[in-house]
Symmetry: C2
Subunit: 331 residues, 2 copies
């Protein structure tokens, strides 16, 4: 059996209310690099405050974690046996209406930004809107600036046409850090074959998600079904364009889910992927309740018929290669 | 000949860098009520600063101007022989991403808000975008809130589908405070017959514009052609749905035009309705160079065949009636 100790593990999206115990568990579970969300609807000042909270984490838990500012830092983190933290935004709200704030946020450490969350943003349309205006005038400028700086464009929550246009307009491959194919489970947040094919043909990456609303059978999705989805997706996209973006959410109460769903834009709560009958956090599948689940995925991929080299690519090497190409600043 | 002294004059959009001389000239030119723009791309704090500047104006020029907070204030201004100032935003940037700021801005005195300027906003699509996603999820909530408060929805700079949808979704008639029909001069900023017919059928108002980029023959547009356009538009929309929204811009330098066009969203200047060859403010028609031009319009409307009652409606009474219906708060 293939062991987690043997391979690099990169999770390209988590939203966790971290404490020392959770960092320790991620480390003993073999996680090397984690892309952590630090903004949904947060504006510039609120995002600064979230960076400040992470500065505290880095001071307090210096033996366990370190920030990733460039590609070399990833190797440094592996060498030092620390979890490397990559900062990302699930919306463009941290830059507000100011293109020059992209460079500011990049300097502060943001390496990945979604052009929209579920709603229309100033840059692109979110997957929950009725119609899709595509990449806006501001969005076109933002893509050029993100390309120049080496900030990854993430379209996980964006609508179909906006996503296709971002793939086309971006001079660098883009990412969908956390979503699944619609052919596995049809949901507004999952992606069509057209999007996934265009993404892979342009050198982009898909991180498959373990958030129950993105899974066939939701919380009851079986490990074998999840790994079969990865197998089918690898056949469609190629084995080099796939990784994990677990969308693991841990240790948050319901008020945070309300913030994620409703931000400041609705006077009454919007239930997003949930409903008024079932508004709260969904239950994770029993084989992926926390960071310990990565070992189960490795085993599941082994059982479904991937070889060791392929599993290594899916669990981390593909993201590593993608980050190498993506993080370099263009002159 | 009909004299300006005989009638109420309301200009439903101006963007002027006001000083005492300009207030005095507006007053001697017979202006009673002016809707003044105090935000294009200004965020909450910048808009607060613009309210503060106006508080200074009201203190310094208390003998000439007063703020309009409700419908009764309009009659008070007329009685006191002062120009009544109605505040408006040409974009939703003052509320940022926060629906509760609509009520805050309304309390501060904002009575009219465009759901977008030329670009995609968080609420609706602007007329310069390639595609139009219509009223967004946030936009639908914002319309309900503006309807409740009695804040007028203005779609002057918005794209076609967004405008049609705003007319439909709003429980109160909306306004296009400053634009002309495309049939008069085809421009991204002017409006289709479909929009104008839906607007008038729903009880909404069009303010015809004197900004040269909205005029046939631009700066060389003749008074008779402008008045003929009003005549034709009155035939299409009805005589009760038309007023003036001159879009008169006075006493600003080029940097302000750059701000209006490019805000903070572009690293290089966007020339908007102008071009790199001709970037600056367009020359006004010689019959409408400043507030003195309103008397010329009255004469032009007389010459084109409108009777006194009709001219009174166009010059102010229609806006007055519209404000009466619009400003009342729904419980």
């Amino acid at each position: 059996m293939i062991k987690k100790q043997d391979m690099l593990i990169i999770d390209c999206l988590e939203y966790v209310n971290w404490d020392r115990k959770l960092f320790e568990h991620a480390k003993t579970s073999g996680l090397n690099i984690i892309h952590v969300t630090i903004a949904y609807w947060e504006n510039t000042e609120e995002t600064h405050n979230n960076f400040k909270k992470w500065n505290e984490h880095f001071k307090k838990h210096n033996d366990l974690i370190m920030p990733i500012h460039d590609y070399d830092d990833i190797h440094k983190a592996i060498e030092l046996n620390k979890i490397g933290i990559i900062f990302g935004f699930q919306n463009c709200s941290p830059i507000e209406d100011d293109i020059e704030k992209i460079e500011v946020m990049h300097s502060l450490g943001a390496k990945i930004m979604q052009l929209s969350y579920n709603n229309q943003s100033l840059l692109a349309t979110g997957c929950y809107e009725d119609r899709d205006s595509g990449i806006t005038r501001f969005g076109k400028e933002a893509i050029k600036e993100m390309n120049r700086l080496g900030m990854i464009i993430d379209m996980s929550h964006s609508a179909e046409y906006s996503t296709l246009q971002a793939i086309e307009l971006s001079s660098r491959p883009i990412a969908i850090t956390h979503a699944n194919p619609n052919s596995f489970h049809n949901a507004l947040r999952n992606k069509s074959d057209t999007v996934l094919k265009n993404l892979s043909q342009s050198g982009g990456m898909l991180g498959v998600s373990l958030y129950p609303f993105h899974l066939a059978d939701g919380s009851n999705c079986e490990l074998s079904a999840f790994c079969q989805m990865i197998y089918d997706t690898a056949e469609m996209m190629g084995i080099d364009q796939l990784g994990i973006g677990s969308d693991l959410c841990l240790n948050w109460d319901y008020t945070i889910l309300e913030w994620m769903r409703s931000g400041r834009w609705a006077l009454k709560p919007d239930f997003g992927e949930g409903s008024s009958d079932n508004p709260s956090w969904p239950r994770q599948p029993n084989w992926f309740e926390d960071h310990g689940g990565f070992q189960n995925i490795i085993e599941g991929l082994d059982s479904i018929g991937f070889n060791k080299e392929e599993i290594e690519k899916i669990m981390g090497k593909n993201w590593l290669n993608f980050f190498k190409k993506s993080f370099q600043k263009l002159q």
